[in-house]
Symmetry: D3
Subunit: 162 residues, 6 copies
């Protein structure tokens, strides 16, 4: 039966011991979406093209957030990422902006949390920059898209699994 | 027409100048939900009661994350919070856990972002602690519940507004 | 009966809400001692006078550590200190070095933890700089010396109280 | 004769150059004790069992503090820990709580300081959470228990060595 | 005679005690220039207009760096800035880019160091982003432009004063 | 033609992917100078010899700043440095103080930025500690002196190259 890896038998929280694992290539990508008002959507799209670059700021924040993952998530290991990238796609039918954060390392533990923290920070930054226009924005559907490497191998998110 | 407050006319990003605003009481609360598998839901619920305390760890991470908000969100001001609290409710019908983060300060700018960052960090921590059991968890519906204080006054989230 | 201030009735941890407290002057001092070998004691004393300044490095580390207090202690508030000072006295009879850290702020909450974190960081830094000579050093007797301000008023440590 | 490793001949502080050392497994454990009043001792023991979990919060703080070691101790290297664990034992005869922090890495330098910083942060957190009940608590006997790996090999603390 | 404010009579470093100072408005601006090759200059100018936004990234880094000032400069106070702005001007005759960082607070101590740290971080970020093209870039002429508020009053940099 | 490595074809900023690079020894040194008034110069020189150690504080700040490089420069990788050293030379003819920061790692990416950030932080710290005497100090000539290792090999700064 599946068990927590972050707790010992007596229930106390631990950082998982990974010292016996080999240094191997690991990669992950995570996604998430922010639902905005039509007004905000137009402002992000048009200012990005012309002047104020909401997505440029959010991209940087996402990359810097991914680097801070081990400071934020209590039991995560410090992982020197070998790569971090944040991309956005905008959907004008739904007035939503979707972020994807891709991370990699050569190490003893995976980088899913770095990708998830990168996505979350990027979306929160969009919220911050647009909240003077609309406080009703909603961040949704943050999850892993895919991860590779490590003992648990390749994983691809299946939308239907829930 | 509504405009970005984080950009100057030429499109360059700025931290909004708040030095002329009075120090007043401001409060905010934000929420978000993580959708987990039945197995994870049972493990969180039962280990919390008995041994491993996933929500206790996530609560701490949320509070500490809220304090780190100005390091994560590029254009946020440093705000010495006067209060930060994270609570959870669990719904066994949907196998979901909902976090609420409440923040306050006496200052020149609001604390919505602190509340949102607190909620996000708490939910990401739940993800981290349970991901060995299930990588298909999804974080959803992160938004402001309510905020008060400041020039824009009282705001309550209206679900139907989108 | 005395009660925890960092827990709610249901046992969940919170940052204490201080928003209704006035901004008043608060000060604290804390102390602690590191017991070293005669060899380390002589090296610290002589290098400080002549060349390598162990206590100068430890003093800086203590001041910077006090500023980081709210990042380290989960439920502490962010407090912009108005003062931080670390002093050392050396006792050659016992080969021990005693640090005192003094802190102050004008705010809604006290600065005892900042003083204690400052002392601890200073003593740990002495340990780090001397550990190649002796790993058997012991840090002892870290406690508040005195604090003032706030609802609980003036407190002076009484050695006999335990 | 033993010498400082953190100073050059002219007395200026340096981070020790470790680039020629191989990456090897290194482990350390450190301990420390907080002496509390009978009232605090009972509250920690009973609230832990029932509601407020002082030691659970302190454990997390200790693990996160160990990860922050290189930010706190000026001349320490950044070490990606492969493991970090904090445990507590309580002694009702002396009303004291003893923490042990165990750390490991595969790297070029040891992890004693990480273990010591983890212990110190855990004990300071207990102080913070209980200080509304009693300000006279004393932290004592922080030292290395054991370390292994690296050029200096295996070390076990000998109580009588001072 | 002028004296250090960051040292006590015995030479030990302290954070200056400011608790008796009133909270007043203080502002500062600092500048600095990076000298680049013609190739880098063209790339920054053209990519900024079209695609890669070196100055947009550097602006964000400067603002975030200013917020981190008290973590970097050992004896600086934590200052919640009320404003931070970074602007750039480019000079194609000299292939140089000049940054100006403007900061303000309502507090007990000035914000010159925040402005200087903001400028330095912005210029270092330009260096980082362009160093694959040219490692010979030089950062020069970092100084305060102007500061206001506090006991020392208004100061304007005079180029001839050296 | 030379190109930015920190931007993708569409202009979005990325952390460069280094996961395929081998772990090799890399070293760098950077320099910079602060021009001060005769009064400040004398105070730094004499207090250093006798009492207040401006350069000792600046050296520590430089080393700790170099360790924080990846938090400050948005697209830099986290690099566990194997060495960091800051030295100063003073020139009484010109009333200037020159800092050199030397860094190394065994990794997949270079440490030039760490050396530059170390130098900048050290010089800013001198500014901070002396600014009560003279606000007209100027930091100048920050650049790489030399770097080695990695695909781009050995580089030595040539003063005439601009």
């Amino acid at each position: 039966m599946a068990e927590f890896t972050h707790f010992k038998k007596d229930g106390s929280a631990v950082m998982v011991d990974v010292h016996e694992k080999p240094d191997t290539y690991r990669a992950a990508s995570a996604t998430g979406t922010i639902q905005v008002s039509p007004e905000v959507f137009a402002a992000v799209r048009d200012h990005t093209a012309k002047k104020g670059d909401v997505l440029g700021v959010a991209r940087l924040a996402g990359i810097m957030g991914a680097k801070k993952n081990a400071e934020l998530i209590p039991l995560c290991h410090i992982v020197p990422l070998t790569n971090c990238e944040v991309t956005f796609t905008t959907d004008e039918n739904t007035n939503s902006i979707t972020a994807v954060c891709t991370t990699s390392c050569v190490g003893k533990t995976g980088v899913e949390m770095e990708a998830l923290t990168g996505v979350s920070t990027a979306l929160l930054t969009i919220y911050d920059m647009c909240k003077a226009m609309d406080r009703g924005m909603v961040i949704r559907d943050i999850h892993i898209l895919e991860k590779d490497g490590g003992k648990s191998g390749h994983y691809i998110y299946q939308k239907e699994e829930k």
